[in-house]
Symmetry: C2
Subunit: 238 residues, 2 copies
DNA sequence: GTCGGAATTTGCTCTGGAGCAAACTTCCGC
DNA sequence: GCGGAAGTTTGCTCCAGAGCAAATTCCGAC
């Protein structure tokens, strides 16, 4: 807990953390240094809120490592996952959309490392760093596209297709090759998956069991491996 | 049809068209003049596409009058309405999100008047006109919020609630007071409403019939009047 | 190891709302 | 005024998937 000699290097973050990430990729080392010096770094346990819907958007964040679910809670207390955010993306950028409160809650799905800056710096970043705005809006555009897709899925597809597609998206974003297939590399329960696809954990469980019998997936507690992605793609299209 | 003396004023658009609209509201008359001179004005019939999903985003648009539905078409040919856009808003602003193609199709729901500019001017507008970017991102933020709400609705609510909420949103955006209630001031069919709420026209029809018997709404062909908004609000919450 | 809680599986029932079919109504063009 | 097309209503059937209940398995804490 104590750093004998090099105490000052402990909190000092390395520039290489950011250089390859889209919103910062075009910046000079010196600029990144400045940005990092203004940042607060923090580790979150799995399953805790980084920020909450409706609260004033005081900070914006960069997910360095881990995985975050953006969720909304309905009046009746159900959770709906609106979006998944993988490491390397900004989140909580309410300011970019002219909002003063967070429109949703961000919840870690794994242990996560997050940088953050006070929202008042947002405008500075946009003004001073070339490409910063463009790149973040590109990410945003991507998210809007995802949300659109999700609306279409919810509106037209059957549960089986939705779950298949959700799995495919998850392995695309966070798949890790293991023998026998591609594994989702963070713990995910049937219940999580049901919130992602707007169904019940029972139905998800039944589907997975069925697929496992057919050799499409392999699932243990909190862990899912896709063995035959192609077959899932077919299922996903109905 | 012919302008005897003042022919040259015919195609000339009046500055007042834009002065009160958010993205332009902070601009000087001279600037608005320039913007208008670069614009193409066009009238669309009801039910035609202004631009289509996947096509290169060559222009961006301002809906001056009318009403537009932003739709997506599924592989199986069904239409899903993702968003409704009322007069006074920009649309087709793919550029703002770093996209080179339109992410969805925009279809007029009524006869509409639309201004448009070549996409290459987008960056100019953002750079030159103070507040333009901020204001458009605010609109965008609003739309993201709406999409989020829609996802939650689709994921958790029953059809009756969704239809009730859709109606309420429509009268909020485009309601016109008439005796006996508030009327949606553009023609909308049961089928349109079913695409908006991800159900079938049959179910919508049954619901409306039921509500009409209870005195909540009044509906004719392509026309719906809400008589008791409060009761609908209650229905909408389940 | 053993205990307890969390996650998962599975069976059974019940229903919202889709799907299909058919009649009816309204409107528009000739 | 007379078709015919577009929009609407209504009845009936059927099933995907929710809801409930219970058993089982897994895992971490002690």
């Amino acid at each position: 807990m104590n750093e004998p000699a090099s105490r000052k290097t402990l909190p000092r973050l390395d520039e290489s953390l950011l250089t390859h990430l889209p919103p910062f990729s075009r910046l000079e080392k010196r600029q990144i240094r400045t940005i990092l010096d203004q940042a607060t770094s923090r580790r979150y346990d799995s399953g805790v809120a980084i920020f909450e819907e409706g609260h004033p958007a005081e900070r914006f964040y960069m997910l360095l490592d881990g995985y975050v679910r953006v969720i909304r809670i309905t009046p009746t207390g159900e959770q709906v996952t609106a979006l998944h955010i993988p490491a390397g993306q900004l989140l909580g950028i309410a300011r970019a959309l002219g909002r003063v409160t967070y429109p949703a809650t961000a919840m870690t799905a794994t242990e996560s490392i997050v940088l953050s800056w006070p929202t008042r710096l947002w405008d500075t970043f946009v003004a001073e760093y070339d490409g910063f705005a463009t790149e973040t809006y590109k990410t945003l555009g991507h998210r809007v596209g995802e949300m659109n897709t999700r609306i279409v899925e919810l509106a037209t597809q059957q549960v089986e297709q939705r779950v298949a597609n959700a799995l495919l998206r998850l392995i695309n974003q966070t798949g890790r090759k293991v023998e026998g297939g591609i594994e989702i590399d963070f713990p995910i329960t049937r219940h999580d998956l049901s919130e992602l696809t707007a169904t019940t954990l029972h139905t998800v469980s039944r589907l997975l069991s069925g697929w496992e019998k057919r050799g499409l997936v392999l699932s243990k507690r909190k862990r899912i491996t896709v063995c035959d992605p192609h077959a899932l793609v077919l299922l996903g299209q109905g």
